[in-house]
């Protein structure tokens, strides 16, 4: 993918409403991201296409009592991420403003300090000062893996809605293709096939002995697979490992 020749014309939000530009942007972004560097270039291209300034691709990881954002790629300045904190980012991504594919994206205007689930308006207002005046949260599905993409702009009403929906699917497709190429790099499925299988049967209410019969291995082996799965999720017991796996869409 030629990163240098990627932008024959500067991103122009006025022209975004014409179909011709829409078509041409579709052609350039059809390039297939294959490495992490390509991922950054690909996401930047999408950011330009919707008329945004910044992007952030996150996976949300559930912990004991709260959810944390695991940032996969972002061009936010480091201070902004530090000040906002993972909890705020996770909340932004998961709020009712976030649009599933096929849904209508809604803008989060940070200056108006909307109060999201569990986060006060003041924290969100901080983002306005940091140059994220308008934020759109999009849910992405890369297979069954759920990721979140935040697009933000320094001024309000600059991000193009129709282009946003295009970009949402471009990213679903691009990341799917990338996960085919890169394997587990962007996925957060740490389990081996066997461990996943065991955990699935446990989630279906089977006991260790029953799983052993189903898979045709000894119950000690089953226990060791499950222990490994628990350790990989840094869970405290089976129930938590099952819950973590379901929440992240692994089983």
């Amino acid at each position: 993918m030629e990163i240098d020749s990627g932008h024959p014309e500067p991103p122009n939000c006025m022209a975004m409403t014409s179909l011709a530009v829409e078509n041409s942007s579709f052609e350039t972004t059809a390039a297939k991201p294959a490495t992490r560097g390509d991922l950054t270039a690909f996401l930047m291209e999408q950011t330009d296409a919707v008329g945004a300034d910044a992007y952030m691709l996150v996976a949300v990881v559930h912990d004991q009592d709260h959810s944390d954002a695991r940032i996969i790629a972002s061009n936010w300045i480091y201070d902004a991420i530090q000040l906002a904190g993972q909890k705020l980012i996770a909340t932004l991504a998961q709020s009712s403003f976030a649009a599933s594919p096929g849904g209508m994206p809604r803008a989060i205007v940070t200056a108006s300090a909307p109060s999201l689930e569990g986060i006060g308006g003041e924290d969100i207002k901080l983002l306005d000062v940091l140059g994220h005046s308008e934020i759109y949260a999009l849910k992405l599905f890369v297979g069954r893996q759920r990721l979140f993409l935040l697009f933000s702009a320094a001024s309000i009403a600059r991000i193009d809605l129709a282009a946003l929906i295009q970009a949402q699917f471009q990213c679903c497709y691009g990341l799917s293709r990338m996960s085919e190429v890169l394997g587990a790099a962007v996925m957060q499925d740490p389990l081996s096939d066997r461990e996943r299988e065991c955990l699935f049967w446990v989630s279906e209410g089977k006991t260790t002995d029953e799983v052993a019969v189903i898979l045709g291995v000894s119950s000690n082996t089953v226990n060791s697979y499950i222990t490994h799965a628990i350790r990989k999720f840094s869970a405290s017991n089976r129930a938590m490992a099952v819950a973590t796996a379901i929440r992240s869409g692994i089983i």
């Binding site: 069954r144 799917s176 989630s203 099952v242 819950a243 379901i246």
Partner: protein, 255 residues
């Protein structure tokens, strides 16, 4: 209720499409209430694609079950031969792909057909080995909030689909599938009502706490906490706690 309020707030929901050929998402998100309703919506997409037939399938998330499970197709309430083929034969490539990739897949056994020519112009769609007896077709993977996974498949030799239309059509498949998935969740929600306290215990169990820790956190006795969990397990028709946690999460009772 909040969903309805959100839709009323979307001013564009009166017109069916915007100039990009997208269905206005506000409209598409109206929950389809019945399967015939969902089928009608699927038929609209099929008409826009000029597809001969269509079908919606559920894909089991676990690798254990390789067949797509049919939900409805063009012949609803009967099923088409193609559906029999997809759910009978092992369509492993389709299901395996749907679990890991959102890319649409297409197939064609007739190179000269209009569908094949249109599909090969789609840079985001992947070609797979022919599926079933029908000449050509395209499968759109779709996913819903509770981790459900499915395929919306259109078949026919005259399918019209340009690269610019692809995200719009796929968006409508997503909206359709999530409506159907929501319907199924509500159908299976016939278990007796679970109290707030019982849900709280279940949620803490999912977060890895033991009965003792839950009792301590909620200021209950260990016996009461255990009793709550036993009740929940029974109400969810589960065999043990792990099963109850899994069911609770999959039904969306807990987050």
């Amino acid at each position: 209720m909040t969903r309805a309020a959100a839709q009323n707030a979307t001013p564009a929901s009166s017109e069916p499409r915007n100039p990009f050929g997208f269905a206005t998402p506000g409209l598409e998100q109206h929950p389809a209430v019945t399967i015939p309703d969902a089928m009608r919506r699927c038929r609209w997409i099929a008409v826009d694609l000029n597809a001969g037939s269509f079908g919606l399938f559920f894909v089991n998330p676990s690798a254990e079950r390789a067949h797509p499970v049919p939900c409805f197709d063009a012949d609803y309430p009967r099923i088409t031969n193609f559906t029999k083929f997809v759910s009978g034969e092992s369509c492993e490539e389709l299901t395996r792909r749907a679990r890991v990739s959102t890319l649409p897949c297409w197939w064609s056994s007739d190179e000269g057909s209009a569908s094949a020519a249109n599909f090969s112009a789609l840079s985001w769609a992947t070609r797979i080995a022919p599926v079933g007896p029908e000449g050509s077709g395209i499968a759109f993977p779709a996913y819903a909030e509770r981790g459900q996974c499915g395929l919306v498949i259109f078949t026919g030799n005259e399918i019209r689909l340009s690269p610019e239309q692809l995200p719009g059509i796929h968006a409508r498949c997503f909206a359709l599938f999530s409506a159907v998935a929501r319907m199924q969740t509500e159908d299976s929600g016939k278990h007796p009502s679970i109290s707030k306290r019982e849900l709280e215990c279940l949620k803490l169990t999912a977060n890895g706490l033991t009965s003792e820790e839950i009792a301590c956190r909620l200021k209950l006795s260990v016996h009461t906490a255990n009793q709550y969990l036993t009740n929940t397990t029974q109400k969810l028709n589960a065999v043990n706690r792990m099963h109850a946690v899994a069911k609770g999460l999959r039904l969306g009772l807990i987050e």
